[in-house]
């Protein structure tokens, strides 16, 4: 039996296995620390706003307009503004986004138009949101004469979230097996019938997820609304698309910018509401997606 325990050919190396193994171990420790630190800051942020804001969260807060006095201030106008704006945004962006994606995936597969539209979409996704604000200010507020209204905000926001919806819808359409299209064509269906009856229903979950993502983005965005001049002090509920408005993140920004700590706590309360809404929306998206996924997977309808 072998008496020597070293492997052949080792003499010309200083292999130092233990040291090299240690590098890996240290790296894993470091990486876990890095990940933990990032997630801990997030948890800390959540805990902090909850701690500051939870005392202010009551019906009065939800059902009052803004006020110079912290005790009387609330987010009624902001909630209405955000809900209206998000609704209009989706009404505009959803059909536009889905149609764009359908065109790119199902119609323009090899047309000259596809490439520039696709590149343009990915570049639009990288444009800073405040630039959309400047666009909205010039085009919607001034040129189209919408003023600093809910509608102007929604139009701006719709363009901002358009790339999100388009990309998500494209992915969902690509995931639909082509066998379904072939089967439909084989039955004599036209392209639009095939898409409407077979492809879109199959892609529903993905489209929905994309739209919820887009809605979350629209609800949280602040900068473009400031640029188009959404008011920070709105003691009324907008009743018309051309009414002026405020939105939840604007209200939070406004309170954060005030020197008094009472308003900071109000801002924290507003953040709690905003984060709760976002959390709910994303949970709903996950649940719906799972359910749709199961149905598409052959489960009972």
């Amino acid at each position: 039996m072998a008496t020597e325990r070293t492997l052949p050919g080792a003499a010309m190396f200083r292999t130092r296995i233990a040291l090299r193994r240690l590098q890996g171990t240290l790296f894993v420790v470091l990486a876990i620390a890095v990940v933990a630190a990032s997630l801990a800051s997030l948890a800390f942020l959540a805990a902090d706003v909850l701690g500051r804001g939870v005392g202010w969260l009551d019906w009065q807060f939800l059902n009052s307009f803004d006020s110079r006095f912290a005790e009387r201030a609330g987010i009624k106008a902001a909630i209405y503004g955000s809900v209206y704006m998000m609704t209009f945004t989706l009404l505009l962006a959803l059909p536009l986004g889905v149609m764009t994606a359908v065109y790119l995936e199902e119609y323009a597969q090899d047309g000259w138009f596809r490439q520039p539209v696709q590149i343009n979409m990915s570049n639009l996704a990288g444009v800073p949101s405040i630039i959309y604000g400047l666009l909205g200010l010039t085009v919607f507020v001034r040129w189209m004469g919408m003023g600093r209204s809910v509608l102007a905000g929604a139009c701006t926001m719709a363009l901002l979230v358009l790339p999100i919806i388009v990309v998500a819808t494209q992915e969902a359409l690509r995931a639909v097996p082509s066998g379904i299209r072939d089967a439909s064509y084989a039955l004599g269906a036209t392209r639009s019938q095939t898409i409407w009856h077979h492809v879109l229903p199959q892609a529903f979950a993905g489209i929905l997820t994309g739209n919820i993502l887009a809605a979350s983005r629209a609800i949280g965005e602040t900068a473009p609304l400031i640029t188009i001049g959404a008011l920070t002090f709105v003691p009324f509920v907008p009743e018309h698309p051309l009414d002026r408005f405020t939105a939840l993140p604007i209200q939070i920004f406004n309170w954060t910018s005030k020197p008094q700590t009472a308003f900071h706590d109000l801002a924290a309360a507003g953040i709690v509401v905003l984060l709760a809404v976002l959390l709910t929306m994303n949970s709903v998206a996950i649940i719906l997606r799972n359910r749709a996924g199961r149905a598409a997977g052959g489960g009972r309808r």
């Binding site: 039996m1 072998a2 020597e4 325990r5 070293t6 492997l7 052949p8 050919g9 080792a10 010309m12 190396f13 200083r14 292999t15 130092r16 296995i17 090299r20 193994r21």
Partner: protein, 292 residues
């Protein structure tokens, strides 16, 4: 040592298996006669079995691979050739759920013994893969990579040149060592991978179908190279090409997976004997192309 092997094999007669060909005696490993010819084994496998999670892929393989010769593992697809080859340098350790029983000595060191680091084993037992896989680095850095990480003490330029010369690539690339390894032709890439493997001064070089992605001329090049390299290294090659096995190998191991899909060693002997005078009818069937 020889005695120990036969002892081990006789003890580990595997579970009875349905025997497809009645005339063949079920053998596990190849007993004494051919093994005795090997005086100096670079690799010695004793009673090796392997499982992928639940599924067994190798059963009770025992064989001794002679130093400074070319040994070919042949057999139909899925019989466990690659699996066996990857046991020699513990590559299988990287696949989650792999379990191994038995022993493999490389130069007398049991590479599966506790306390042996697979990283060290892979330095001593090099590997060349089916598809050339040079790193996206310069030719020089490809060859120097292994030596660097293993803490090479000598002159790196010299080592790179010497390795490229041994791999019969030096003359083609000596003026262009900074060029990306990916910019070479397929056959050159494979020789670069060979140079890379021998730069860490291995004892054994494993090659898993090293020519299957290459054209006939590049293949001939690599085959010549294998013969050359056998003077300094022990070479184990997996091949599906019978002519190649006959051309380059000194010894052949024929493996086969039965109905249970578990790979076993059917016959092992000199290439001459395996091709001219196979003892097992299943080997003969495979060699003559009637099967596999």
């Amino acid at each position: 040592m020889v005695q120990q092997v036969s002892e081990a094999t006789s003890k580990r007669q595997g579970p009875s298996l349905p025997d497809l060909i009645p005339s063949a005696t079920p053998r596990v490993g190849m007993p004494a006669p051919t093994d005795e010819a090997i005086e100096d084994a670079a690799i010695e496998v004793r009673g090796l079995s392997l499982w992928y999670t639940r599924k067994q892929a190798l059963a009770d393989v025992s064989l001794r691979i002679p130093r400074h010769q070319v040994t070919a593992l042949i057999g139909p697809s899925g019989c466990g050739k690659s699996t066996l080859l990857r046991c020699f340098n513990r590559m299988n350790d990287l696949i989650p759920g792999v379990r191994i029983q038995g022993e493999i000595d490389v130069d007398g060191v049991n590479v599966y013994a506790p306390g042996v680091d697979p990283v060290e084993v892979r330095r001593a037992v090099g590997m060349v893969f089916q598809k050339p896989n040079p790193f996206p680095k310069s030719i020089y850095e490809n060859v120097a990579y292994g030596a660097r990480i293993n803490g090479y003490r000598g002159d790196m330029d010299e080592l790179v040149e010497q390795s490229l010369r041994q791999a019969a690539l030096w003359d083609e690339v000596k003026d262009d060592l900074k060029k990306s390894g990916l910019a070479l032709s397929g056959g050159q890439q494979q020789r670069l991978c060979i140079a890379r493997a021998i730069a860490v001064n291995p004892d054994v070089v494993l090659m898993d179908e090293p020519c299957s992605a290459l054209d006939p001329i590049a293949t001939a090049h690599i085959e010549d190279l294998m013969r050359e390299l056998a003077q300094r290294y022990t070479i184990v090659i997996v091949t599906h090409n019978m002519q190649q096995a006959a051309r380059v190998s000194d010894r052949c191991a024929y493996m086969l997976a039965g109905d249970d899909l578990i790979g076993r060693l059917v016959e092992y002997g000199s290439t001459e004997q395996i091709f001219r005078n196979p003892r097992d009818p299943r080997t003969e069937a495979y060699i003559t192309g009637r099967f596999g």
